[in-house]
Symmetry: C2
Subunit: 377 residues, 2 copies
């Protein structure tokens, strides 16, 4: 029997109750029925984003559409932008801003390293005309969790007028995000990550300061101001992805029932347990400060990471490989989706089996036992 | 027992087999499994769009996102644009083009009227610098089917270099579209209309001439050229709405099995039967040339159209009302979704019941019998 498992950093294993919620008959989006569902779901989404009572906008699109919409809704034309570039997604936002004609300073950090607040400070000091800082929170390509709270503090200290826009695509639902307490200006995410839905929804929150910006670049489908005007009333500017929104409510209910603190703790516990298991069989973590969203791991010396990924695949378990220059050396299992302790242990079982196939020598059960022990904490 | 029915011009009644296809576990989008599903589905989509073997791109977004993407991928900066404006959606594209800084000539026609090819010809003669013509095919707000074939002929006769971009949002799957034979340059649609899916996917096809344009406005999430490069290989530039794509394949299979000619004939027969029933109880069609996608109908003199819509709603049947100035006088049932003869007759049953509630006098069964007779043809 082939039973596929999707343990990648998005898309992820979707709970059956979410899939069946999505199979409910589509309601028309200009009706009181939809309005009620939509307003209720938006309220729960704001709770899960730790901005209760505020506007988190829901788009039919991916996380990228949400970041782009938020950028276009808050960055005045001609603004000098700084992009923290410590992986593929940091790079993406720099490309995006450049595409729309913005001057962008590319603040590079080695892959796997944390973006150092003090280097950001120096760059801001040297360029007092920087109006916007863009960063990822959980940089999925390197498995790194940037210290967004500390980065935002530096931005506000150096230039209180500057905005900080944060890619929370894989961090939402995986780890603590406090948009207001940390004084962030934009938080963007997508459905197929911590929220455990199929892909197809983008989420965007902006601060008061971000909403107050003017002289913006044009946008139409991704016009967040138009969306905000509609969504506040329980409508949408364009036709929403109704059935995904059914699934979203189910997933949000699951999060709120478990409690956000518990969800975050559980995800961190899972990720640490995956890393502990991997270390026990000679796979070191890639990230200086691991993100609970994904365990980026080095293959043991002399073993090809793509071959490890293939070993997982052969067993019906889908994990991610490395990207770009990290492809030969990195593999990335993730507990971002619908997983429990048994699933996390299964990841170590699959890792052991894949490594043995490749001739790597270790004591059988070493990864599994290390994972089991780590899960007990 | 409350059994809701969604007989609006989108979203529509989704077949249970489509909903259950969507409930299949999400696969990762960077895998051979997805690639196979995606390439196969894209091939079937091209067949249903009558452009077999060509590229129809699939976006995570609405029909509006697809039109915007197609526009930005094919209209050089500074192009003078003509928008045919005979209803809400014609208006939308004019607003969109203006938002992105294009000069737009607004060629107005009264609501319910067909866009006359000869008026288009005059305008093109008077403005030989028009580079792009935008039109709707089925203008949903007025229930009108524009003669896109004739309009395209005029464009190519007057200015062979000009492009014609067509909003086929409600016409795809509802009536004949021949992008190549008619020499169209852009065809755009969405999932929640004739293809009977929940909302969340946009579709875009461009002609060779459209793809060859240069000096374009910037786009990032909606960059169709980037999508084309990926989708040709069975990938996507950004994360695709995987589960909606499962549903799409099921719906395309249903269309191809029935045969496109049969689907179009059936939809026209259904729409004519709705109109025949309505006429028998004093409701005249709004459109000079009705679109098979939706029956736009006048309420009988002295009766409020929103009250008729309410009468349907009370019976669990959701139809659309009129928009803007047509709101007081228009109601719009539609057979765009998953309907059969019984459902079409039920629309007339609901119409009779709603009209009787409002004191309108007619022979009981008149609408129903007229609909039944019309269905026999």
């Amino acid at each position: 029997m082939y039973k596929p498992r999707l343990f990648a950093p998005g898309p992820v294993e979707v709970p059956a109750q979410v899939l069946s919620a999505m199979a409910r008959p589509t309601v028309h989006h200009r009706t009181p029925e939809f309005k009620e569902i939509f307003l209720r779901t938006r309220e729960k989404l704001a709770d899960v984003c730790c901005v209760s009572g505020e506007d988190v906008l829901i788009l039919a699109g991916s996380g990228t559409s949400a970041f782009e919409a938020g950028f276009l809704a808050s960055v005045p034309k001609g603004t000098k932008v700084l992009g923290i570039d410590a992986g593929k997604f940091g790079e993406r936002w720099i490309k995006m801003a450049s595409t729309f004609g913005y001057e962008v300073i590319d603040l590079k950090f080695d892959w796997g390293k944390v973006a150092e607040p003090e280097r950001l400070r120096e760059t801001l000091k040297a360029n007092p005309d920087i109006g916007v800082v863009m960063t990822t929170h959980s940089e999925t390509s390197t498995g790194t969790l940037h210290d967004v709270k500390a980065l935002a503090k530096v931005v506000k200290e150096e230039n209180p007028d500057a905005l900080i826009l944060v890619d929370c695509v894989t961090s939402l639902g995986a780890t603590e995000i406090r948009p207001n307490e940390w004084r962030l200006d934009g938080v963007f995410s997508g459905s197929q990550k911590g929220l455990m839905l199929p892909p197809g929804l983008g989420f965007a929150w902006l601060s008061k300061r971000a909403w107050s910006q003017q002289n913006l670049s044009p946008s139409f489908y991704l016009d967040l101001r138009k969306e905000r005007k509609s969504q506040t009333k329980g409508e949408t500017a364009y036709t929403p992805a109704v059935n995904l929104i059914y699934g979203l409510e189910t997933s949000l209910d699951m999060h709120l029932e478990e409690g956000l603190d518990n969800v975050w703790r559980r995800r961190e516990r899972f990720n640490n347990a995956i890393i502990a298991g991997a270390k026990a069989v000679g796979c070191q973590p890639y990230a200086e400060r691991p993100s609970p969203a994904v365990a980026a791991l080095y293959a043991p010396e002399g073993i090809s990471a793509p071959d490890i990924v293939k070993g997982f695949t052969k067993r019906g378990m889908r994990i991610a490989g490395g990207q770009d220059h990290a492809k030969p050396v990195m593999f990335r299992p993730s507990a971002l989706g619908y997983l429990d302790d048994f699933d996390v242990i299964s990841i170590s079982v699959a890792l052991e089996a894949s490594l043995r196939d490749l001739g790597h020598v270790f004591e059988q059960g070493a990864a599994v036992v290390a994972t089991m022990k780590a899960l007990e904490t």
